[in-house]
């Protein structure tokens, strides 16, 4: 291999020495992309626990209305609204985004393109600090007088804009502020990812030698950059409406509440692909390694990523079919929305085809990667029902929507993340996780996941609308049959949560005492596996060179079934 044996000697540049730094500087004030990645990863995981706890509380209320929920108490309607609102906000903005984009992006981009760090390490540090600030503000918004914001994660005005209507003057403003700061944090991070991937690639690494996960994170960052501006503007307008008495969204004084919906969803729909794409990238890396296969039609995958990204800017109003937009406009958005199925289906087909001719090892990361595809397909096909305007008249804002987007977001934010963590764990921490406990955790998560959300599809088809704290007020929704489905979903959720300590224990115990991992335990090709496990500050003593694409597995006539990117021909 090209690189020399690496040790903890700095290779110079902006990083300075590596000698006994104070732990504050090393772990809290670091500019090292790997430490910042861990900061994002651990903050995101902590927020996931908060979001999961919220789901537990409101699901208990739905299954057993009015009862005393263990660890919480009786759920009031105001608390219920705050719980669902912040569950959604946290899981998307404070879990999926920091873990998938910022966590994996920071960790993987420099290591996979053979760079010593990000191009703008200090901006990177600032990005995390702003993100942490936003998380603290959000958590604070839950404990201020009058409680947390309860106007749903979409925050439609006038409800969100007027304290008389939402009754949460402090919670609502802090929520908007947290979201706005969080977006600034990711904007900084995203700029860094794009510039780094364009400028710092290893010598010899051409565009089509870049691993798919780097492509997906960079394109996701571009989508984010291009879509977030309107929403930040909208968030500032909303804050002004709340605090300064402006009337951007106030119809009684010339404003328009629908304007917010356009600003929100112009960002909100590309956002789905912002988190989907990195998840698809992680799955590609894991699948190729454990199938020992070249990715089927690498360039096609990249074109479908770009196609999906472009199309995602033209579908936002499918969230507003029945919101009072011009009904003729709905026809345009039905066409664009249903057509998203073309690149997404192509991407799924290509991934499935990658298995053809493989030698598939069902390790824990591979199980997660395969489960991502199997489950995401359900999320994908159920999206067609909602994109079809005529049917969305019924399904909009029912539990069918809830089930649909959990079948996309759960694979994205949970399944793909577990694939990524279990796959890169040896690189991140220099030790191996237990495969056996990993599989226990896998099945203990996947089976209950389906048992939670399949009942919700049925409830949605029965006409159960969203964000209702007690269905006894609706005679046709209060039947024993429907209540049984609600209880099934809640019990499945509790079972799934009870399996999560298995992961946490495996994770923490393996960091402390797992078997030592060598540099390349999975026999993978990409450049991160040529650095030490874990890589030192600066990653390599001598930066690697790139000689081929990332997925040259099982090439005929070679002694091994892998061919690292840095190996001389």
């Amino acid at each position: 291999m090209a690189h020399a044996t690496t040790h903890t000697v700095s290779h110079g540049g902006a990083h300075g020495g590596h000698h006994d730094e104070h732990w504050v500087k090393k772990y809290l004030w670091s500019t090292d992309h790997k430490i910042i990645a861990f900061q994002y990863l651990f903050t995101g995981m902590a927020m996931a626990l908060v979001g999961a706890f919220m789901a537990y509380v409101f699901r208990m209320q739905l299954a057993f209305p009015g009862s005393n929920v263990p660890l919480w108490g009786v759920v009031s309607p105001g608390q219920y609204n705050a719980l669902i609102t912040n569950h959604g906000s946290i899981m998307i903005f404070w879990v999926a985004m920091p873990v998938l984009i910022a966590g994996f992006g920071n960790y993987l981009i420099p290591l996979m393109i053979g760079a010593d760090d990000m191009v703008f390490p200090r901006i990177n540090r600032l990005s995390y600090q702003l993100f942490l600030l936003s998380a603290i503000i959000l958590l604070a918004s839950l404990v201020v007088p009058n409680g947390g914001f309860g106007g749903a994660w979409t925050a439609y005005p006038p409800l969100s804009a007027n304290r008389v209507y939402n009754t949460t003057p402090y919670g609502a403003s802090l929520w908007v502020l947290a979201v706005a700061i969080e977006f600034v944090a990711f904007l900084l991070g995203g700029i860094n990812f794009i510039v780094t991937a364009m400028n710092s690639r290893a010598k010899g690494m051409r565009a089509f030698d870049v691993p798919i996960v780097v492509w997906t994170i960079v394109i996701a960052s571009i989508l984010f950059m291009a879509s977030v501006g309107p929403l930040i503007a909208g968030a500032v307008m909303l804050l002004f409406d709340q605090l300064a008495g402006t009337s951007f969204f106030n119809p009684n004084r010339g404003g328009d509440p629908i304007l917010w919906q356009h600003l929100f969803w112009f960002f909100g729909h590309p956002e789905v692909y912002v988190v989907l794409l990195p998840a698809m990238g992680i799955v590609a890396e894991v699948m190729t390694v454990f199938a020992r296969k070249k990715l089927f039609a690498y360039q096609t995958v990249i074109y479908t990523i770009i196609g999906t990204g472009v199309l995602s800017f033209f579908v936002w109003a499918h969230h507003q079919f029945v919101a009072g937009i011009d009904p003729r406009m709905a026809n345009v958005f039905t066409v664009t929305t249903v057509l998203v199925s073309v690149p997404i289906a192509e991407m799924c087909f290509v991934y499935i085809a990658t298995l053809y001719g493989g030698s598939i090892q069902f390790s824990t990361p591979m199980l997660w990667a395969l489960a991502f595809l199997a489950e995401f397909l359900i999320g994908g096909v159920t999206g067609i029902y909602l994109g079809a305007s005529g049917l969305d008249v019924f399904y909009h804002d029912t539990y069918f929507v809830v089930a649909h987007f959990h079948y996309t977001f759960f694979p994205i934010a949970i399944i793909a993340v577990f694939a990524g963590i279990t796959f890169w764990f040896p690189k991140m921490f220099g030790r191996m996780m237990s495969d056996g406990w990993g599989k226990v955790h896998f099945w203990g998560t996947i089976i209950p996941f389906n048992a939670i959300f399949i009942p919700l599809f049925i409830l949605g088809a029965y006409g159960e609308h969203r964000r209702i704290f007690d269905y006894h007020n609706f005679p046709h929704l209060a039947t024993p049959e429907m209540q049984a489905l609600r209880i099934t979903a809640t019990v499945a959720l509790v079972v799934m949560l009870l399996f999560q300590p298995v992961f946490l224990w495996n994770f923490i115990r393996s960091i402390a005492a797992g078997p030592k991992a060598d540099r390349n335990p999975w026999h993978a090709n990409t450049l991160e596996w040529t650095a030490d496990s874990p890589p030192p500050h600066g990653n390599w003593a001598e930066l690697p060179e790139c000689h081929r694409g990332p997925y040259e597995y099982s090439v005929e006539g070679r002694p091994t079934d892998f061919w690292p990117q840095d190996e001389q021909a």
Binding site: Y156, Y165, P257, V322, N331, E346, V350, L377, D397
Partner: protein, 248 residues
């Protein structure tokens, strides 16, 4: 859809349910084919000692076919779904058949108020009948509803009618429905509207002409009250609100 649970009680419910089954058949077959292929490949190419993986780039014509042909078919099925979806949509939202009766639907935190024009069939007259959280309509008649909101967004959702429309403060939305099957049904608010969102339901009574006449007679004396409490007309200083459906 599941009409044993959610009856088809309006003229367009059948079309919506037909669209549901069309999509279910199409995507169901695709889903089973894709998952079937996926699991078969997993089993067929599981790791076995001494069997190496193949080197396949995905550029081979005979293999690329397996992607390109389904890809083209997806596009064709998409067109079928789009056409069917738009046909149903145009029927519900983009056309406005002449009304037999026009009613007013007012929403506010957290109640529905319905105004029936009464015996003279004209809104805003002395014999209007206003009811809170209960709407009575007659089978076989075409209704226009004027949907308004006093405060925040609400959404007028009648599952049995397969009808949903958001109410926006400052606008009057004109939509339509034609009840076809007598019975009692739920009216929901499907857009979160504050802490009382969970109690903002109403009862829809679809009845025959005789029953409805009796109901009108029973409430005839409410006329004076109705006139007194008729909501103030929409703020005239606002720009004319475009009624979304059937604007032409």
């Amino acid at each position: 859809m599941f009409d044993h649970v959610v009856p088809q009680a309006s003229s367009f419910a059948g079309g919506v349910d037909g669209l549901f089954w069309l999509i279910t058949w199409i995507v169901g077959l695709w889903f089973i084919a894709a998952e079937g292929m996926f699991f078969w490949l997993m089993w067929r190419f599981r790791r076995r000692p001494g069997v190496p993986a193949m080197y396949v780039t995905g550029k081979e014509k005979h293999l690329k076919r397996w992607i390109n042909i389904p890809h083209g078919l997806v596009l064709i099925f998409d067109v079928v779904i789009i056409v069917a979806a738009i046909r149903v949509w145009v029927d519900i939202k983009q056309t406005l058949p002449p009304a037999d009766v026009t009613i007013r639907v007012n929403s506010q935190q957290w109640a529905w108020t319905f105004t029936d024009p009464g015996a003279d069939g004209v809104l805003d007259t002395a014999d209007d009948i206003r009811t809170t959280d209960e709407l009575h309509v007659v089978t076989g008649k075409t209704y226009h509803f004027l949907l308004e909101s006093k405060d925040v967004l609400h959404s007028f959702f009648i599952p049995a009618f397969r009808l949903k429309q958001d109410a926006i403060p400052g606008r009057i939305y004109t939509g339509w429905f034609k009840p076809t099957q007598a019975g009692d049904y739920d009216i929901q608010c499907a857009e979160i509207c504050g802490i009382g969102h969970g109690v903002m339901g109403a009862k829809l009574v679809v009845e025959g002409a005789d029953a409805h006449t009796a109901w009108l007679a029973q409430h005839a004396n409410d006329g004076a009250l109705a006139t007194l409490t008729t909501p103030a007309p929409a703020d005239t200083t606002k720009p004319a609100a475009p009624a979304a459906a059937g604007t032409h």
